[in-house]
C-alpha cells in the first residue's frame, strides 16, 4: 500500500499546477452589474483608509493651515511645518491612498462600459468613477502640484516606464473634464439604501470649486449657481447638525465620507476587519483626552470669532461648535445654551484650570455621543461622517466667484445674499453691499475651519507666505516655519516615486 501511495504521488505532476483558493483573479472579474458595483465601492474604499480621511488627511490639510498649531513630535505632522520632505510618512501615505482610488476608478472607467447591464446603473457607476478620479486629482494637484496623470488601468499602459509628472495645467484639465463627465452621468439622488454615493450635486459643486481655484469665476459662478438653483439642498437650521452623527447626510450635505464605528480597530485599508471610523479625532482633541500629541488653535481664530456678536449680542454660535476655550460666556442658539465644553461636558476650568488660556478644537468631536475621550473605545470609535462639501461652502464659493476674488470688483447683491444666508443661520447680522473679499475670507474661517479647506484657500489666494510663513508663532508648538523655502507651499514628491521612476523629480524647494 505504501508503495502504491508513493507511486500515486510520483505520477502526479499535477502537484505543480496550483491555483490560489483564497482569491479570485482579475481576469474573471468585470462581467456583471454586481461586479461593477463591487468595483466602484472598492474605489470609494480608500476614503476610509487610515491614511486618507479616516485619519491622515488632516495632517496635509488642517494641520498645515494658520488655524492649527500642532505639536511636531512625530514626522507625520512634519508637513505642517514645511518639513514635508520626501520620506515623511505624511508625504507618502496620503498620496498613496489618492492613487489607490484613482487606479480603481480607472479600472471602472475602462471595464464597466463593456459590461452588459442596466444603462442607468452603468451611467451612475461611471459617473461615480469620474467623480472620484476628479476628486483625487484635485487633492493631488493642490497638495503636490507636479503629479503623474494616469487615466488607464496599469495593464493597459503601453509603456509604464515612460510615466512622468504631468504639468499642473494638464492635471487641472483632467479634474475639470472628470467632474464634467461625472456631472453628466450622475443621478441627482440615490435611494436611501445607496445614500452616500456621489451625486450630480457633488460633481457640480466640485466642478464649481475647481473653476474657482482656477480663478475662472464665470464658470465657477455658473456651476455653483446650478447647485443653488437645483432646489436639492438647503442649510440646516442648526449649524451644529453638520458635525454630529445624528444628522448625517442631511439637507445641507452635498458629499460626505461615510464612517461607522462598528468595533473594528484595525489599521489599514483593504484588509478584513479594519476600522472604518473617524480616527482623526485624537488629532483634534484637547490635551488629556487624546493619546496623540494633538494640537491647539491659534489665538487669532478665536479673536476673529469674538470680533463680532450675533443679532442677540452673543458670541457666534459657530465658535462653540468649532473651539474649546476658557470662557464662561454662553450663547442661546436653536433653543440650546451653547457653552465651551469638551468630553464629559467639561468646561475648560474643570479640565485644566491652568490659567494658560490654551484654545483647543471642538468641531467634529460630537461629544454629545457620550465618549469620555477621543479614543476611549479605541481608534475608529466615532462613526461621525466627515462632510467634504456642504451647501454653506457652495454659497460662500459662489459669493467669491460673484465678487471675482481678491482682484475682483465690488460685492453684488447676489454675493451678499449668498453670504447672508450662511450668516443668518448663525444668527449673525447681515452684510450689505460693502461686503469685501476679506469679509468672505473671514466668513469662510468662521464657517469652515477644521473642514479641510483653509490651507487650500490660503494656497490658491497666494497667501501662504504672508499669513503663515511670516508668522512662525502660528506653528510654535512644532518647530516654527523655519524650514520653509520657496516652493514648499506644496509637499514634496514621495521618495518612493523618485527612487522607483527615474523620470521623477523633487518638487521645488526640496533639494
Amino acid at each position: 500500500m505504501l508503495l502504491s501511495t508513493g507511486i500515486f504521488y510520483s505520477c502526479n505532476e499535477d502537484i505543480l499546477e496550483q491555483s490560489n483558493p483564497n482569491a479570485i483573479t482579475p481576469k474573471s472579474f468585470w462581467n456583471t452589474s454586481e461586479d461593477a458595483t463591487k468595483g466602484i465601492l472598492g474605489a470609494y474604499s480608500p476614503f476610509t483608509h487610515i491614511w486618507n480621511y479616516s485619519r491622515f488627511e488632516i495632517f496635509v490639510s488642517d494641520y498645515r493651515d494658520d488655524v492649527v498649531n500642532a505639536y511636531g513630535t512625530s514626522e507625520r505632522t512634519a508637513v505642517g511645518a514645511f518639513n514635508g520632505i520626501s520620506t515623511s510618512n505624511g508625504t507618502f501615505w496620503v498620496w498613496s491612498t489618492h492613487y489607490q482610488a484613482i487606479t480603481r476608478a480607472n479600472e471602472v472607467i475602462f471595464n464597466v462600459p463593456n459590461i452588459e447591464m442596466d444603462q442607468s446603473m452603468k451611467d451612475a457607476i461611471l459617473g461615480e468613477a469620474y467623480f472620484l478620479r476628479g476628486y483625487h486629482y484635485f487633492q493631488l494637484v493642490n497638495n503636490w502640484r507636479n503629479v503623474p496623470l494616469i487615466t488607464l488601468p496599469f495593464s493597459e499602459i503601453a509603456d509604464p516606464e515612460a510615466i512622468a509628472q504631468a504639468a499642473p495645467e494638464e492635471t487641472w484639465n483632467q479634474v475639470v473634464a472628470d467632474f464634467k463627465a461625472a456631472q453628466g452621468l450622475l443621478p441627482q439622488n440615490w435611494d436611501s439604501s445607496n445614500l452616500g454615493r456621489a451625486t450630480w450635486g457633488a460633481a457640480t459643486s466640485f466642478l464649481g470649486k475647481a473653476y474657482l481655484y482656477l480663478e475662472d469665476y464665470t464658470n465657477a459662478k455658473t456651476e455653483l449657481k446650478k447647485v443653488m438653483d437645483s432646489g436639492l439642498y438647503s442649510l440646516t437650521a442648526d449649524y451644529g447638525d453638520n458635525f454630529t452623527e445624528d444628522a448625517e447626510n442631511n439637507s445641507e450635505s452635498i458629499f460626505e465620507i461615510q464612517f461607522i464605528a462598528d468595533g473594528n480597530q484595525g489599521w489599514g485599508g483593504d484588509a478584513a476587519g479594519t476600522g472604518k471610523g473617524a480616527a482623526f479625532h485624537p488629532d483634534l482633541s484637547p490635551a488629556g483626552f487624546t493619546g496623540q500629541d494633538g494640537m491647539q488653535i491659534n489665538k487669532w481664530t478665536l479673536e476673529l470669532f469674538l470680533d463680532e456678536k450675533t443679532v442677540d449680542d452673543q458670541i457666534d454660535p459657530r465658535a462653540f461648535e468649532t473651539l474649546f476655550w476658557d470662557t464662561d460666556e454662553t450663547t442661546t442658539y436653536q433653543g440650546r445654551e451653547l457653552k465651551s465644553s469638551t468630553y464629559l461636558g467639561k468646561s475648560y476650568k474643570e479640565v485644566y484650570n491652568d490659567g494658560r488660556n490654551t484654545i483647543y478644537a471642538s468641531k467634529h468631536l460630537d461629544v454629545k455621543q457620550g465618549y469620555t475621550g477621543s479614543q476611549a473605545e479605541g481608534w475608529h470609535q466615532s462613526g461621525n461622517n466627515l462632510r467634504l462639501m456642504r451647501y454653506a461652502d457652495v454659497l460662500l464659493m459662489y459669493a467669491e466667484a460673484e465678487v471675482g476674488g481678491w482682484n475682483g470688483g465690488a460685492a453684488t447683491q447676489a454675493a451678499v445674499d449668498a453670504v447672508n444666508l450662511v450668516r443668518a443661520r448663525a444668527n449673525m447680522p447681515a452684510f450689505d453691499l460693502s461686503m469685501t473679499m476679506k469679509d468672505i475670507e473671514d466668513e469662510r474661517v468662521k464657517e469652515l475651519s477644521l473642514e479641510r479647506t483653509r490651507y487650500h484657500d490660503l494656497l490658491r489666494w497666494g497667501l501662504v507666505k504672508e499669513r503663515l510663513v511670516d508668522h512662525p508663532e502660528l506653528k510654535s508648538s512644532s518647530s516654527g516655519t523655519g524650514a520653509y523655502q520657496p516652493g514648499r507651499e506644496y509637499i514634496d514628491i514621495p521618495q518612493n516615486e523618485i527612487d522607483a521612476n527615474p523620470n521623477f523629480q523633487h518638487n521645488p524647494g526640496y533639494n
Binding site: L2, G6, I7, Y9, S10, E13, I15, L16, Q18, S19, N20, P21, N22, A23, I24, T25, P26, G39, L41, G42, A43, Y44, S45, F47, T48, T73, I85, S96, Q100, T103, E107, V147, I150, F154, I163, S192, S193, N194, L195, Q258, I260, N264, G269, D270, A272, G273, K276, A287, G288, T290, G291, Y352, R356, G373, A376, S479, A483, N496, E497, D499
Partner: protein
C-alpha cells in the same frame, strides 16, 4: 517540463515496480558447495561480544550479523573464501577461512576518527571519503540540558553555524544561519529529520537525537537542490540496538532567574526627570509629579513582573531488539515556567522507532508525536508600560492603571503626563491566551538489495501539525487611555492544520573495481505540502467567563486561508574513490516547483568536488608528525525557493469595503491591491569551498579548516513599485546579489592523564564577511524600527552588510546655545542637546550626514567545549561567544527620550548647566534638537563570551546498583548561561531581532528588551536498567 524528461519519467515509472517484483526473487537464494563456519566477535579492549557486527564473505554479498553475544554462523563456499569482520568504530579484520570451521576474532577499537561515519544527504559516508564540508555534533552532548527548543542545543558547537534565540522567552524561536545570510528574507536552512524534509527541528526532544550533521558547502548540499542554499541540517533520531532491553530514566529540575536587569527610575527619580524636562521645555509640571506627588506609590513593574521560575524535564526511553528487529520507545515531558510572569511553555514528546530486516530486505520506521502548550506574555517591557507613579494594584488589590485620586475630574494625561498607559502585568494576567500545537513527524523507509551492491530504497515521510491559537481579552478598564481599557470582551482564535507528504525512490549502486570504489545514487522524489486555517474574531460576550465564539453576539471576522504547494525532483550523485587517495564527487538535482510559472518552474543544481588524501601517498609514509592530511575543494550552484504560495498570482482584494445607505452598512468592494511579478524564480547560490583536514599526534589532535565564498545571485528583493500604481505591496524581483565569505576552523583533541583522567576538547572559530553586491533596481532597504514612533535604524545597500546600522554620529553634547546654533542643524538644538557630526562637511547637519555606524552580524564567532572524566566523575563545559557586532539598545530610546513610559534612572544624569560632564543629553520632552534621531547613541558593543553550559556528574559504582537491579546511575548538577562577559547593558547580548520588521532579517540586533535571558541551575538523575 521538457519532452525528454517526461519520457524519462514514464520509463522510470515502469521500471520501479517491475524491478521490485523480479529482483525480490533473489531474496533468500542460497549458494552451492557450502560449509558452515561459526565463531564469536569480541572487542579486543574488554573481551565483550559485539552484537550486530558484520561478517561478510569477501567479494560476495554473502553476509550475516552477529547475535546479541557476538556469535555468528555463516555458510561459505569456495576453498579460498575470506571473511571480513567489521563493526562500527572498530578496525576491520579479514581472515582466510582455509579449513577452519571455528573463527573467533577480537576487533580492535579504531581510534582513528577517519573511519567515523557521517550522515550526509541520502546516505552516510566515511569521513575519509568525504569531499564536502559537513559538521557533525556528538549527540550525547545535545541531550544533556533541558531546553524548550532542540535547535538551541546546536549553539556554539560547529564552525559556521550561528544559532540565535530571539530573546529569553521559553517559546523563543531559534534562528540558524549557516555561513551568513545569502538571502534578503528570513529563509533558513532545510531540515531533514529521519529522511523527511521539513522546516525546523524545534519540536524534537533533544534526548531523542542520535546525530546531527550540518551540510555547508555545495558538494554536500547540492543533492537537496532548490531548498539547500541556506544549508541543510540532517537529524537522525535514536534507533534501538540489538541486545537486551535497556531502560533509561532521567529527570532534572532547576530554577531560572534573569541574567541581568535594567535600572529603571523609581517614582521619585521619574518625577524629577519629567519635572526637569517640563521646566526645560517651558511647560507646566504634571500634578502627580509635583504638588500631588504621592510618596506611597513607587511601582516597579519590571521587578513585579519577574520571578524565579522552575524548569523541569522527565523522560523515559526503552530500547532493544533481536537479530532482525530493533525498537526504541521514548517519552519525555519538558516544562518551563517563564521568568516573566504569565508566560510558560511545556512540551511532551513520544517517539517510536523500529527496524525490521530479513535477508536483503530492511524496513525502518520512525514516528515522533509532540504536543506543545505555550502561553506567551506579549506585554512585558513594551512601550507605554506603567510608570512608577501609577500603582500596579488599587486598594482592593485589583490591577489598575491610574493614579488620579477619586473625585478628581482631571484626565490621566493631564494628571500624570502620559496619554497612553498599559498595566502590562495586569493585561497579561487578565488576558487568557494559549498556543497549542500537536505535531507528528515520521517516515517509513524500505530498502531492498536487488543484486550485490545495488540497493533500492523507498521512503515516505510525513509531517503533520495542527494548532490552535487562542486569545481572550475580557472587558476591563485600568484607565481611560486608549490602551488602558477594552469596552467589550474580544476573542481571537485560529485553528490551522498542515500536512506535508514526501515520497522518494532511490537506487544506490556500490562497486569496488580494483583500487577504485564507485558509489552512485539516483533518485526521484515528490513532496506536497498543504495547509488550511480558519480563525474567528468575536466580540461582546454575555460574561467575561464565557469564552467561546458561539456565545458572542458579534462574530465580526473569520480570517481564513488555504494553500497547497508541490515539488518534484530528480537527483543523482556519484562518488569515486581511487586508491583511497583521490576522491571525486559529482551531484545534480533537478527540481520542479509549483511556486513558479510553468516555463520557469524547473531548475537544475549541479556541484562537483575533488579530494586528495595526501597522507595516503607513498611520499608521506615517513612523515610521522602528520597522521592524516586531506585537501578538498568543491563548487556548486544551489537554489533557494523562498517565495510563498501564489506569490505570482494576481488577485482581487475582496476587502475594499465602503459604507453606504441610510443604515450605514459596510458593503464589500473589490480592488486590485497586489502587484505581482510572475517572472520570479529561484535564488541561486554559487559556493566555492576549499578545505584542509589534518591530524597530528596519532590522530589525537584533529584540525579542519575551510575557506568558503558564497555568492548568492538572483536574490529576491522587494521592489517598491511607485505608489501611483495603487499597489500597496512591494513586488519581488530576482535582482539582488549577496556575498558571504569567511574562514572556519575546527579542532578536536583528546587524551588521558594517566589512566583515570580522560578528556577531550573541541574548539571552533568562524570569521564571516557579509556584503550586498547588488540590488538591481531596488532601492536601499530601510528598516530596523525600534519604536512605534517611526524611527528606522538599518539600511541594506550595495557594498555593506545586510541590515547595517545607518544613522548619525554623536560627538558629545553642546555646552552652549551658541555652539548649538553654530552647528547649523536642521533641527533646533540648544545647550545640553546631543551634538551630531557634520559627516559630509557641508557646514550643516542634516539627513545627508548619516552614515554606516555598525554591523548587527558578528564577524567572529567561536565555541569551546571541554569534557572530561575522572573516575566516577564527568564534566562538560561549553563556552561560546561572538565579536564584532553592535546591538541597538532600544531601552536607551525608551529610557532617555520616549515621553510615554518610564525613564532609565540614568536619565537623571542628563546635562544641566551645573552637570556638564555627562554623556546623557538634557531632559526634554519636546526634543527640539531631535536628540532621539537614530545615532550611535543607541549602539553598544554586542560581543560576549560566556559559559553557556556546565555540567558535573557522578556515576554510582556498578556493584552497588546491581543489587537493586540497575545497570548504571548518574547524578549531576548543571547550569546554563552561568557566566556571561559582555559590555552590553540591555537584558542580554543575544537579542535576535525585534518584531517590527518584515522580514526580521533587517531588524537583526535591534533590541527592545522584550524578554530577559534566564540563567538556570539544575540537578538531575539518570538511571539505566
Amino acid at each position: 517540463m521538457s519532452r525528454k524528461l517526461h519520457e524519462f519519467r514514464k520509463l522510470w515509472m515502469k521500471v520501479v515496480p517491475m524491478t521490485t517484483v523480479i529482483l525480490s526473487l533473489f531474496i533468500g537464494q542460497s549458494f552451492g558447495q557450502s560449509r558452515q563456519i561459526t565463531g564469536k566477535i569480541t572487542s579486543a579492549a574488554d573481551k565483550s561480544g559485539l552484537p550486530s557486527a558484520s561478517v561478510l564473505q569477501s567479494g560476495s554479498s554473502n553476509g550475516v550479523m552477529t547475535d546479541l553475544d557476538g556469535n555468528f554462523k555463516i555458510t561459505v563456499s569456495g576453498a579460498d573464501a575470506k571473511l571480513v569482520f567489521s563493526y562500527i568504530g572498530y578496525i576491520d579484520q579479514e581472515v582466510v577461512v582455509g579449513n577452519q570451521s571455528i573463527i573467533n576474532v577480537a576487533l580492535a577499537e579504531d581510534a582513528n576518527a577517519l573511519n567515523e561515519v557521517v550522515v550526509i544527504g541520502y546516505g552516510s559516508q566515511k569521513k575519509s571519503d568525504m569531499t564536502g564540508s559537513v559538521s557533525s555534533v556528538d549527540a550525547e552532548e545535545l541531550g544533556k540540558f533541558a531546553t524548550s527548543n532542540a535547535a538551541g542545543t546546536l549553539q556554539g558547537r560547529m564552525a559556521g553555524v550561528r544559532v540565535s534565540p530571539q530573546g529569553g522567552s521559553p517559546d523563543s524561536p531559534m534562528k540558524i544561519t549557516i555561513r551568513g545570510s545569502g538571502t534578503l528574507s528570513d529563509a533558513g536552512p532545510l531540515y531533514v529529520i529521519d529522511g523527511m524534509l521539513t522546516g525546523g527541528m524545534g519540536s524534537l526532544n533533544p534526548q531523542d537525537i542520535e546525530s546531527v550533521s550540518v551540510l555547508k558547502d555545495a558538494s554536500a548540499t547540492a543533492i537537496y537542490g532548490s531548498r539547500a542554499a541556506n544549508g541543510v541540517i540532517i537529524v537522525t533520531t535514536k534507533k534501538g540496538k540489538s541486545g537486551d532491553l535497556s531502560i533509561n530514566f532521567n529527570a532534572s529540575t532547576g530554577i531560572q532567574k534573569a541574567a541581568n536587569l535594567i535600572d529603571w527610575a523609581n517614582a521619585r527619580q521619574y518625577a524629577d526627570i519629567v519635572n526637569r524636562a517640563r521646566d526645560n521645555d517651558g511647560n507646566p509640571r504634571f500634578p502627580s509629579n509635583d504638588a500631588e506627588f504621592n510618596p506611597n506609590i513607587d511601582s516597579d513593574i519590571q521587578n513585579e513582573s519577574l520571578r524565579n521560575a522552575p524548569i523541569s524535564n522527565i523522560g523515559l526511553s526503552i530500547g532493544g531488539g533481536s537479530k532482525n528487529t530493533t525498537m526504541n520507545f521514548s517519552i519525555n515531558h519538558m516544562d518551563q515556567v517563564g521568568i516573566v510572569k504569565e508566560s510558560d511553555f511545556s512540551r511532551t514528546n513520544i517517539r517510536v522507532n523500529s527496524s525490521y530486516s530479513k535477508g536483503k530486505f530492511k524496513l525502518q520506521q520512525t514516528l515522533g508525536v509532540n504536543r506543545s502548550v505555550n502561553n506567551p506574555n506579549n506585554y512585558f517591557s513594551r512601550e507605554r508600560d506603567l510608570i512608577p507613579t501609577v500603582p500596579i494594584y488599587d486598594e482592593n488589590g485589583e490591577f489598575t492603571g491610574t493614579n488620579v485620586p477619586e473625585g478628581q475630574t482631571i484626565s490621566l494625561g493631564n494628571y500624570s503626563g502620559v496619554g497612553n498607559l498599559i498595566n502590562s502585568l495586569g493585561l497579561a494576567t487578565i488576558e487568557d491566551r494559549t498556543v497549542t500545537t500537536n505535531g507528528l513527524l515520521g517516515n517509513v523507509d524500505a530498502t531492498l538489495e536487488i543484486v550485490e551492491g545495488l540497493k533500492y530504497r523507498f521512503n515516505v515521510g510525513l509531517d503533520m501539525s495542527n494548532g490552535n491559537n487562542y486569545t481572550f481579552t475580557p472587558e476591563y478598564k485600568h484607565n481611560d487611555t486608549p490602551l488602558g481599557n477594552k469596552p467589550f470582551a474580544e476573542l481571537k482564535e485560529t485553528n490551522s492544520n498542515f500536512l506535508s507528504v514526501l515520497t522518494e525512490h532511490t537506487l544506490n549502486y556500490f562497486k569496488t573495481l580494483g583500487k577504485t570504489k564507485v558509489d552512485v545514487l539516483g533518485g526521484y522524489s515528490s513532496q506536497v505540502g498543504k495547509g488550511r486555517s480558519l480563525g474567528i474574531v468575536a466580540r461582546n460576550f454575555p460574561s467575561n467567563d464565557i469564552r467561546v465564539a458561539s456565545a458572542a453576539s458579534d462574530r465580526a471576522q473569520a480570517p481564513s486561508n488555504a494553500y497547497e504547494t508541490g515539488l518534484i525532483s530528480y537527483f543523482g550523485r556519484a562518488n569515486v574513490t581511487i586508491d583511497n587517495k583521490y576522491l571525486l564527487t559529482a551531484t545534480l538535482r533537478r527540481d520542479g516547483s509549483s511556486l513558479f510559472r510553468e516555463d520557469l518552474r524547473w531548475g537544475t543544481f549541479p556541484s562537483a568536488a575533488v579530494g586528495w588524501n595526501v597522507s595516503n601517498e607513498s611520499f608521506m609514509k615517513n612523515v610521522t608528525a602528520i597522521s592524516n592530511l586531506k585537501l578538498r575543494a568543491s563548487y556548486g550552484e544551489i537554489g533557494s525557493n523562498n517565495v510563498s504560495a501564489y506569490a505570482i498570482d494576481p488577485e482581487l482584494n475582496l476587502n475594499s469595503d465602503y459604507i453606504i445607505g441610510a443604515g450605514q452598512t459596510r458593503f464589500q468592494g473589490y480592488s486590485i491591491t497586489k502587484g505581482v511579478n510572475p517572472n520570479i524564480t529561484w535564488e541561486t547560490t554559487k559556493t566555492t569551498d576549499i578545505g584542509l583536514e589534518f591530524n597530528m599526534l596519532q590522530n589525537k589532535l584533529q584540525f579542519t579548516m575551510d575557506y568558503f565564498n558564497k555568492m548568492s545571485e538572483d536574490v529576491l528583493v522587494a521592489l517598491s513599485l511607485p505608489l501611483y500604481t495603487g499597489f500597496g505591496n512591494a513586488v519581488p524581483f530576482n535582482t539582488a546579489s549577496v556575498k558571504n565569505n569567511g574562514f572556519e576552523f575546527q579542532a578536536n583533541y583528546y587524551n588521558n592523564f594517566g589512566s583515570d583522567f580522560k578528556y577531550s576538547v573541541s574548539a571552533n572559530f568562524t570569521t564571516l564577511k557579509n556584503e550586498v553586491i547588488a540590488l538591481g533596481r531596488a532601492t536601499p532597504i530601510i528598516q530596523g524600527q525600534f519604536t512605534s514612533n517611526g524611527l528606522s535604524s538599518t539600511k541594506t545597500d550595495v557594498g555593506h552588510p545586510i541590515g547595517a546600522f545607518f544613522g548619525f554620529v554623536t560627538d558629545g553634547i553642546y555646552q552652549t546655545d551658541e555652539e548649538a546654533t553654530a552647528a547649523n542643524d536642521f533641527n533646533q538644538p540648544r545647550a545640553g542637546d546631543l551634538k551630531f557630526k557634520d559627516i559630509n562637511g557641508d557646514g550643516k547637519v542634516d539627513n545627508a550626514d548619516q552614515t554606516y555606524i555598525g554591523n548587527p552580524a558578528p564577524g567572529v564567532m567561536y565555541g569551546l567545549n571541554f569534557s572530561g572524566e575522572y573516575k566516577n566523575f564527568d564534566m562538560t563545559f561549553l563556552f561560546d561567544g561572538v565579536a564584532g557586532n553592535e546591538i541597538l539598545n532600544g531601552t536607551r530610546y525608551r529610557g532617555y527620550f520616549d515621553t510615554e513610559g518610564n525613564y532609565l534612572a540614568d536619565a537623571l544624569n542628563g546635562w544641566t548647566p551645573s552637570n556638564t560632564d555627562t554623556d546623557v543629553p538634557r531632559n526634554t520632552q519636546t526634543d527640539p534638537g531631535y536628540n532621539r534621531r537614530f545615532s550611535d547613541f543607541y549602539l553598544e558593543d554586542g560581543s560576549f563570551f560566556r559559559l553557556k553550559n556546565v555540567q558535573i556528574g557522578y556515576s554510582i559504582a556498578n556493584e552497588t546498583l546491581a543489587k537493586i537491579g540497575m545497570t548504571s546511575a548518574r547524578i549531576y548538577v548543571s547550569s546554563q548561561n552561568l557566566m556571561t562577559l559582555t559590555k552590553y547593558t540591555g537584558y542580554y547580548p543575544e537579542v535576535g531581532s525585534n518584531t517590527r520588521g518584515n522580514p526580521r532579517l533587517f531588524n537583526e540586533g535591534v533590541d527592545e528588551g522584550a524578554y530577559p535571558m534566564p540563567k538556570n541551575y539544575q540537578i538531575g538523575l539518570q538511571v539505566n536498567f
